[in-house]
């Protein structure tokens, strides 16, 4: 991530209140945030203008977070975009499925906005 440019983060969640909270928090933390209401919209936005990081809900209509992660990884332009999955599904198998799909990190709901920002910083810092 360039030091001169504000990192751009794609947030995809079908729950409006959660999405707004994440957008608010990340914006206040100095990131440029774009939001999507479902997986398909998120994929389109990501391909049109590749973000520096994506925060994706797992349970979304049209395209769930796992499948969206796989598609982003398969697309040359977005294959290296760091992805944080956000979900209420926290069984061991669900976590494994997320990492197998290509996610970089995993945050379970209920979540702490502070923790989310810390994870975003950590993942962006690794790239």
């Amino acid at each position: 991530v360039s030091a001169e440019r504000t990192p751009r983060i794609l947030v995809a969640d079908d729950e409006e209140d959660v999405r707004e909270l994440i957008v608010y928090r990340l914006s206040r933390s100095g990131y440029d945030v774009v939001e999507a209401r479902d997986g398909e919209e998120a994929f389109r936005l990501a391909v049109d203008d590749v973000p520096d990081l994506a925060v994706l809900d797992v349970m979304m209509p049209r395209l769930d977070g796992y499948e969206l992660t796989r598609r982003l990884r398969a697309e040359p332009a977005t294959s290296r975009v760091p992805i944080i999955l956000l979900t209420a599904r926290t069984q061991e198998a669900d976590v494994s499925q997320g990492f197998e799909a290509g996610a970089d990190d995993y945050l379970k709901k209920p979540f702490s906005p502070d923790e989310l920002v810390a994870r975003v910083r950590a993942v962006l810092g690794r790239r």
Binding site: E15, D17, L21, P110, F111, S112
Partner: protein
């Protein structure tokens, strides 16, 4: 003829009135939903700032505004952890919402109001509400009791474990809901669950065994294995099921003995547990059990035998007409 015409007119008029009432009601509900959505839209930016510790909540004068604000905060309380959740809990207390909802839960005349209050109190996220919610488990209305059980799970206090299992034992709250609540409480529920292993109530013992099977670890194996000798078949079956996950080599003899239990459900659960323990000493008893007449028991025994030694199960299946073994061998081969 005239009477018939009057009847038709009366019926037509009644239909028209009914239709008008339905339309009026629909319009009114739509208007109410629109006003509510508008209020939410107005209040949300301030709520977001408040959750981030960057501002105060707006002063709300009307009951409707307070309810929308409470629902917005309650919605976030279900989805957040950390300082934001603490802010929500303090706010509800300061606003007097906790007092109001606690009074409503205990004394409102309409059951839906008591249930809504019980549900809301769980979203407020504070352990001091536990006694009031436990009392609501005795409400005459099932909806209120269920909402209280859900909220007790949400608050996560270990003090709710015994009342929850007691409520499930008398059928006051659905078992599945109590199971969800106990899983939400998580490992802190274990000390109370262990105490309930020797409850005088069969259903409480069975519930405790089931939940220890999900929340406990290998150190619980011995106490759960002892329940395989319980006087209640329900407890014995629950113990065998729990040992499928918790059981270790020390529990083998007790589980093997349960394969001879007089109750088929216990034998079936024991077979499942033996399949998981994978001790070869169980192979012959399981192969014998797989030939018995009871479908579920024989099927479980066959699958357990195939899990322990696929080759031996395959040979046994080939040696005679043993459909369960043949099926189990096929399924194991596909896995």
């Amino acid at each position: 003829m005239q009477a018939f015409a009057i009847a038709v007119l009366a019926l037509g008029a009644a239909n028209a009135v009914l239709l008008a009432v339905l339309i009026w009601r629909r319009v009114r509900l739509g208007e109410r939903a629109r006003r509510r959505a508008e209020l939410e839209r107005q209040l949300r930016p301030a709520v977001l700032a408040f959750l981030e510790g960057e501002g105060e909540l707006p002063a709300t004068a009307g009951v409707r505004e307070q309810e929308v604000l409470a629902d917005l905060l309650g919605g976030y309380a279900r989805k957040l952890r950390g300082p934001a959740l603490t802010r929500i809990a303090h706010t509800f207390n300061e606003l007097g919402t906790v007092d109001r909802e606690t009074r409503a839960m205990a004394g409102a005349r309409k059951p839906w109001r008591r249930a809504a209050a019980a549900h809301r109190l769980g979203d407020i996220g504070s352990s001091w509400l536990e006694p009031a919610l436990v009392a609501a488990l005795a409400d005459p209305d099932r909806g209120v009791r269920s909402a209280a059980a859900r909220s007790l799970g949400k608050l996560g206090g270990a003090g709710a474990v015994e009342p929850l299992l007691a409520a499930a034992a008398v059928g006051a709250v659905p078992q599945a809901l109590v199971g969800w609540a106990l899983l939400s409480i998580g490992p802190p529920a274990l000390p109370a669950l262990r105490r309930l292993l020797v409850s005088e109530n069969d259903l409480e013992r069975a519930g405790a065994v089931r939940m220890i099977g999900l929340l406990g670890d290998a150190s619980d194996g011995e106490a759960v294995a002892a329940r395989l000798r319980d006087t209640s078949a329900g407890v014995r079956a629950a113990a065998a099921q729990a040992l499928e996950r918790l059981g270790g080599p020390r529990d083998f003899d007790a589980v093997l003995a349960a394969l001879e239990d007089r109750v088929p459900a216990v034998r079936r659960a024991a077979a499942d547990a033996l399949g998981r323990l994978r001790d070869r000493r169980a192979l012959e008893p399981l192969l014998r059990c797989a030939e018995t007449d009871l479908f579920d028991v024989a099927q479980a025994a066959a699958r357990a035998a195939a899990a322990i030694d696929l080759e031996a199960a395959s040979s046994a299946a080939a040696a005679g007409a043993r459909p369960h073994l043949a099926e189990a061998v096929d399924l194991a081969g596909l896995a």
